[in-house]
């Protein structure tokens, strides 16, 4: 008989239902990760007590840490399930939905708030046409390196889940959307709207809600230097505030 891996999964039938836990055993195999384990449970949704239950609902897509969909709380820490190897996890493995977000069902969450926040900070570049290559505005290659790093953010929500200042008790939009404002402020055309974005960050729920716990940079699966860019944005909003006071 193969070695078993025990999973304790926090389930919830609907957005307003009470959460409960169920335990499942999955056959161990080398390189097994949490998403693959959830797929095994989906094939044969029988708990350790031998009860047949509705399969566990979760979300995944790319399976290579690019899409962000499979973020969940594994053994108490927010991370991507696709790259959470069973070998690196303490057993039994506890899976919970990221409750900073509304839970739709089981491990499936609703990330709408992050996209709403991106709308708020104007996470896009206003274009008034397109350019031929030679006429296009020049991007400093060093700035581009930073921009590339931040652009890899996949809106997974790890940083929001780990941030003690994000949750129903606060209106903080969270590290990821805040730092996206910096990405668009770096863009050769996006920078024209930088004062607009900085003013949004100065509003309630913006960058002032950051409490410097620095969990975001610890948990970011894309290793984005969130705290560095948050500090840069703090500098930028302070300068913007001086402009607001003295330029009017």
């Amino acid at each position: 008989m193969a070695e078993k891996v025990r999973f304790i999964i926090e389930r919830q039938d609907g957005p307003n239902d009470k959460p409960y836990t169920q335990e499942f055993d999955v056959d161990y195999r080398p390189g097994l990760n949490v998403v693959a384990s959830l797929m095994e449970i989906q094939k044969n949704p029988v708990t350790v007590d031998g009860k047949k239950v509705p399969p566990v609902v979760w979300e995944c897509n790319c399976l290579e840490k690019v899409c962000g969909a499979c973020m969940m709380v594994i053994n108490g820490k927010a991370q991507q399930a696709c790259c959470a190897l069973v070998d690196n996890l303490k057993q039994p493995i506890k899976l919970q939905p990221a409750r900073t977000f509304p839970v739709i069902r089981d491990l499936l969450i609703d990330r709408t708030r992050m996209f709403e926040a991106l709308k708020r900070i104007q996470g896009w570049v206003e274009l008034d046409g397109s350019w031929e290559n030679r006429e296009a505005p020049i991007q400093n290659p060093y700035t581009a390196t930073t921009a590339y790093e931040i652009s890899r953010c996949m809106t997974c929500g790890c940083c929001l889940e780990a941030c003690p200042n994000v949750g129903p008790q606060s209106d903080f939009i969270g590290p990821a959307p805040t730092v996206q404002a910096y990405l668009f402020n770096l863009h050769p055309l996006g920078k024209f709207d930088a004062p607009k974005r900085l003013n949004v960050l100065m509003e309630k729920g913006g960058i002032t809600s950051c409490g410097n716990s620095q969990n975001c940079v610890e948990v970011c699966p894309k290793s984005i230097k969130l705290t560095t860019y948050l500090a840069q944005l703090n500098r930028d909003v302070n300068i913007q505030a001086l402009k607001n006071i003295f330029n009017n």
Partner: protein
């Protein structure tokens, strides 16, 4: 487009570091005179009495009472927006984040007791001047001594960790290296200030 939240937050930060930091330093400085014995502390306290009453009252109100009330009340509002999670995310900075809030809650209670008893009741209502002997008598209760040392440690940590976060909030330290350097320096300052506290608290049992 007047960002009330932004200015309140920045004022809270400035108020804590500069104004209340000064108050903390003044307390440690004056109280450390107890190391020299009753004469030392009483002389220092009498020197403060030389400041004309209206100016002294103005300093107490503008330099302590108002900033402290603002920092405390707005701080409670800030602390209520945090859901501390240093159990699951056991990183040094996150632990400091939790400790910043726990010390804050303790200080709210401690300062109501400290200011209410020594400033309002003893000095204000009974009109007894604060002296080495009065404090020595106050500190005969070991629970009072324990709570006062804890109160000082909480205030010192809250201030020193505040230096680190102040530098982040104002965008002074941007990268992890500079943030770590400031963090180490402020924790050394924290240790030094705690040590001085233990020494001057101990002097009440020496004389």
């Amino acid at each position: 487009m007047f960002h009330t939240t932004f200015y309140l937050r920045r004022l809270h930060s400035l108020c804590g570091l500069l104004v209340l930091g000064m108050v903390l330093f003044e307390h440690i400085f004056t109280n450390s005179m107890a190391i020299l014995g009753p004469q030392g502390l009483n002389t220092a306290l009498e020197m403060m009495e030389l400041i004309p009453k209206p100016i002294f009252m103005g300093l107490e109100l503008g330099g302590i009472a108002i900033p402290l009330l603002f920092h405390g009340i707005y701080g409670i509002y800030i602390a209520l927006q945090a859901n501390t999670n240093s159990g699951n995310y056991a990183y040094v900075r996150n632990f400091n984040f939790s400790l910043q809030r726990w010390t804050a809650w303790f200080l709210v209670v401690f300062l109501i007791w400290h200011v209410g008893y020594l400033r309002f009741y003893v000095k204000g209502i009974t009109g007894t001047p604060i002296s080495f002997e009065l404090l020595q008598n106050f500190f005969t209760n070991p629970i009072v001594v324990f709570l006062y040392i804890l109160g000082m440690f909480a205030a010192i940590f809250h201030f020193c960790n505040g230096i680190t976060t102040f530098c982040m909030t104002w965008g002074i330290t941007k990268g992890p290296r500079s943030q770590n350097v400031i963090s180490i320096i402020s924790m050394l300052l924290c240790a030094a200030m705690c040590l001085i506290t233990i020494v001057f608290m101990g002097s009440y049992f020496m004389y």
